[in-house]
């Protein structure tokens, strides 16, 4: 398998990408193509001990940054590492592409260069949230602010395939994020989507468990929560905000006085584990579901471990055959 890595995107580029590729080559084998400024990247590979490993460089002179307009940058900066990486994966010069760059630009490139699977209306970049029993995929959570019921039906199928094939959840439970559990609840979009998901569930194609409410997410009531990108983004960021706020409150409790500082020393390990749970999002790659090629986004702040872990995700994603599954079943997802 050939993994294309956009070497110039993200807060720690290109060092994190070079080190991550070296680490991944040792851990997973496979071949790597680092796309970026050759005169910078090539010496770095040598310096980081990658000379004998199957790591090549493809020159790209420009860099996409966070201030570029996501919708036009890939046309304007045709020789950017991101644009070149997209062209390569689109032409089949690699099996998967990983970038820690501008999310909006990655979504544009996925849609315009790597292309959606035929029949899929919108790609989604679904995050995973920790729950009392494991994790839940929130699909969509920002890519698509305005959605139709058909988009949501497609999100449900794609989320189901991903959780089953890539994550390994048996018969993943699909919930519709709503404001009540009864099937009469919600706005027009939810009422229409409910019917579509119910029919897909009755036909045995997905395991639809009905409506779930905001507080059901953390309870672990479903493995995939289907929602429009507006609501999903708010739910995701509220989760992050509340987790951070409560984390700070806990810190205050421990920092209050000598007694509480002693208490902290006694539960230090537990607190560290707790923090780790909410940092999971910053590790590994999230796939653009619905795209005909494997395109994975690594977190902007990725270090070498995160890049290496994103490579692991990309390999799993390609090996799972999920793109073929979606392609073969798209007839059930279109109205």
């Amino acid at each position: 398998m050939k993994i294309i890595i956009d070497a110039m995107s993200g807060d720690n580029a290109p060092l994190a990408q070079v080190r991550g590729a070296v680490m991944a080559a040792k851990q997973y084998g496979q071949e790597y193509i680092l796309v970026g400024q050759e005169d910078v990247v090539r010496p770095l590979i040598e310096k980081e001990g990658g000379s004998g490993l199957p790591i090549r460089v493809r020159n790209a002179t420009e860099v996409v940054d966070m201030h570029d307009d996501p919708s036009t940058v890939l046309r304007k900066k045709k020789d950017s590492s991101m644009a070149v990486a997209f062209q390569m994966v689109a032409k089949g010069e690699g099996d998967a592409m990983i970038s820690a760059g501008n999310t909006g630009a990655l979504l544009s490139g996925s849609t315009l260069i790597a292309k959606r699977i035929k029949g899929i209306r919108r790609a989604a970049l679904p995050p995973m949230l920790p729950t009392a029993t494991g994790q839940v995929m929130l699909i969509d959570a920002g890519a698509n602010a305005e959605c139709t019921a058909e988009y949501l039906l497609q999100f449900a199928y794609m989320g189901s395939y991903y959780m089953s094939k890539v994550v390994g959840v048996t018969n993943p439970r699909i919930g519709l994020l709503n404001i009540g559990s009864e099937d009469t609840k919600g706005d027009a979009l939810r009422l229409e989507t409910y019917k579509l998901l119910k029919a897909a569930g009755d036909a045995g194609r997905i395991n639809f468990v009905g409506n779930v409410e905001g507080d059901d997410l953390a309870k672990g009531a479903c493995d995939v929560a289907v929602t429009d990108g507006f609501t999903g983004n708010v739910a995701l960021k509220v989760t992050e905000g509340v987790a951070k706020f409560l984390g700070n409150q806990i810190k205050k409790i421990f920092m209050k006085n000598v007694k509480s500082k002693l208490a902290y020393l006694l539960v230090k390990d537990g607190v560290a584990e707790f923090k780790k749970m909410f940092n999971a999002a910053a590790v590994g790659g999230a796939p653009f579901l619905g795209i005909s090629k494997a395109v994975l986004k690594a977190h902007g702040s990725s270090d070498e471990y995160a890049i290496c872990s994103a490579v692991g995700q990309a390999i799993k994603y390609v090996e799972s055959g999920i793109i073929k599954d979606i392609t073969d079943n798209v007839e059930y997802m279109t109205l």
Copy 2:
């Protein structure tokens, strides 16, 4: 002031209502009318030491319960404590009404019996969430799943008046809950609402601070977060769910072993304070903003302290003159 209390609604009715009224009469003075089954309520008032206090009873033979259809129950159970209380407040037989009953039925009654202020399109029942710097009102959060930009404009004004007049926040900061901070972000509803709020801010009628994201709520970035009832309800319940989940995780950290249990004893007070912060919602009353009479909902699980505290809220609400403020300024809130 005369406070009408629906004595038969809520998990602890009528004992919590009777005790709460006795407590409030001693604390705040004022007059009270408990609406409910006379043969049950009257002896209870005597038993709970309310005989010499200005607490009267109005008989109502039926009870609205949680299984009743909110949209029809007040027509079907005309002699229910809730329906009678609404008729009384509508006729001016009291200055405010408090009920711990079925939220949907209370919303119907507020709209159909107590009536909206002329020009106000929808009433809202906005909850308060704790933040790093105080609290934020989330308006709307469930009453109205489908909203127009005009509804959201009205929510902004009503939230601003409430925070300023009833809660006492100087020049409350109004934010539009959105999926990005730039004014080009969001769906069609948000783009349209942004313009209206910006104009109201530029005219000096509200203190519009722009878009806020989900994680800005807990940071305390605004005093009023304006949103449609669907998104607001999801945001509210995600907050509750994450807080509960994290609370349980913290509990696990402390319950792990002898060392951690000792740690718990050292920070017990801090943890108790922390819990209290998130129980605030269960205490006191939330007003139906936009209704021409003071109608307050107490939490379904209210005990006597919560009822007494809801009375305190009701008195503040009436004394603030907020209903007149909204009525006098409705011309700025209609398109």
